[in-house]
Symmetry: C2
Subunit: 315 residues, 2 copies
């Protein structure tokens, strides 16, 4: 396998790289990002700083030897809403340039798109299924839905062997808050654990559809073990997650870490954020994903425990 990961400097890209490098079948792994990626000390790894909105960039990134592309690079939800043109350039045009590069330089290579629950919105059924129509209420969701359609059509035409994974909100993300509208979901757990203040911009009753970083990375690694014929008329899969309210999350934080942590959370309503995250669904039927071997988390308590353990390891 010769792997390319876009968004390779991001935390999912970095973890996916570590995971894939455990596999002896991986002969080369290229991490590409708009910011200079760091990378595991492994002679199979190449680091490339590149801007995918430049039509030439993808052509340079993909070689005839490329067998798997993980397209994780994206302008996140809050930023795509604030800067429409940048979102369109990176999330739509950037994806199309990359698809074209694979089509013309490595035809039939696997193309894994990280999509999102943000493709859903509007009047939603209580439980989302594979048959639920997308109706994004954000530019990010729109741009992901567009990319999904392209990956499916390029796959149907045999230009790429596409797979689209709709990720739940990933929580607990390590590191700093980012411009994703869902950034608070990690902040309200991560910052209190570090003894820092965190801002919750939404109502405690808001329900979210979450996945731990570990589950998402395992699922990203799993997808390249599936043969194309396991997918039917669509390459798009809603990944497993768990449904929790913000209040549930905070109760879990109290159970796992203690009441001192919970006192670090300050409520500060933010309409722009609330409008986006409230449009997202919080409950999915994921039979298809489970049938394909994708995995989910058990409880939010477990997710917090894993995060605490991981932080302890890093220190």
């Amino acid at each position: 396998m010769q792997v390319v990961i876009t968004g390779g400097a991001g935390f999912l890209g970095q973890r996916l790289a570590h995971k894939l490098l455990q596999n002896a079948d991986v002969q080369s792994l290229t991490l590409a990002d708009i910011v200079a990626p760091s990378g595991p000390a492994d002679n199979r790894v190449t680091l490339i700083q590149t801007d995918l909105t430049d039509p030439q960039a993808a052509k340079n990134l993909i070689t005839p030897q490329t067998t798997v592309v993980y397209h994780l690079a994206a302008v996140v939800s809050g930023q795509a809403e604030a800067n429409f043109d940048l979102g369109m350039a990176v999330n739509c045009a950037g994806t199309q340039y990359l698809l074209e590069a694979v089509r013309h330089k490595a035809a039939g290579a696997m193309f894994v798109l990280a999509s999102s629950l943000a493709v859903f919105g509007g009047e939603l059924p209580a439980v989302i299924s594979q048959k639920t129509a997308v109706a994004p209420q954000s530019s990010y969701g729109t741009q992901k839905a567009v990319s999904e359609l392209w990956v499916n059509d390029y796959s149907r035409k045999g230009f790429v062997d596409g797979r689209v994974l709709r990720l739940p909100t990933v929580c607990v993300r390590p590191g700093k808050p980012n411009a994703a509208a869902s950034s608070f979901a990690s902040s309200i757990i991560r910052e209190p654990i570090k003894g820092e203040m965190a801002v919750c911009p939404v109502e405690p009753s808001l329900r979210l559809w979450l996945s731990s970083p570990n589950a998402v990375v395992d699922n990203l690694a799993h997808v390249n073990r599936l043969s194309a014929d396991r997918f039917g008329a669509t390459r798009t899969v809603n990944l497993p997650g768990i449904t929790v309210s913000v209040a549930d999350m905070i109760a879990a934080l109290e159970r796992v870490v203690g009441s001192k942590a919970v006192e670090k959370i300050r409520y500060e309503p933010d309409d722009a954020i609330a409008k986006i995250v409230e449009s997202w669904p919080s409950e999915f039927a994921v039979d298809r994903a489970l049938e394909l071997g994708f995995i989910g988390d058990r409880t939010f308590d477990d997710i917090i425990k894993a995060f605490v353990q991981e932080q302890a390891c890093i220190k």
Copy 2:
């Protein structure tokens, strides 16, 4: 109203122009197309030959006075399947350039996109509703579904006041066969009426979702009388149509025109065409469209009668 119609040389564009010019509120009407459009002898009409795949073209077409854009220009289904790059350039990039031109030169103007039942495909429910997920099985359907998403997002952002009409297969189209996979649906009626041979490339049991040209043009004219608040979380509407099998259509031809006409139809299976049209749905629940005042046809016999009458008028 200052109207721009792309695909203005096409038969729907031409008929829509005639219809709109009956309205004294129309101060100007521009017909734009890749082939030089002809146009009604009316001093409000401007004819422009332009290529919408050129990013500059849309900027020249739209003025700050433009209030309504009908975007009918498209590479049709059979052609988009045969020439993927042309389909992407016209149906995706072309639409986006036009949206950008409206956003920057006539912000908030109405933008009517002619979309298609071809956005649906794969494993479909027996009856399509507004809630049915799109899963196009053609590049044309993919490109229309992408354009729908953009028009919805540009509308949500207030860049345009978008409306997306998913047209049934339009039948009976006058004129010559074209590169649409559905072209046969009109050919098997139109050619026999003219005493010419026609080829039917699909099984007689194939069911289609059809609309007469008159109903489609009336619906296109109707959409600009609807205020934006009549649309909810989506600007996309499945237009009314009727469900008929190819056998039903031929039986209607025999009833209306006679058995001599039916003898002019030759069966010649064409897998490429069958694969595309068989992926399309043939039955829709159109409550929402009817509620918004869109209209459908009564019977296929009526559609043939209207076509025969019209042909008589032209002669």
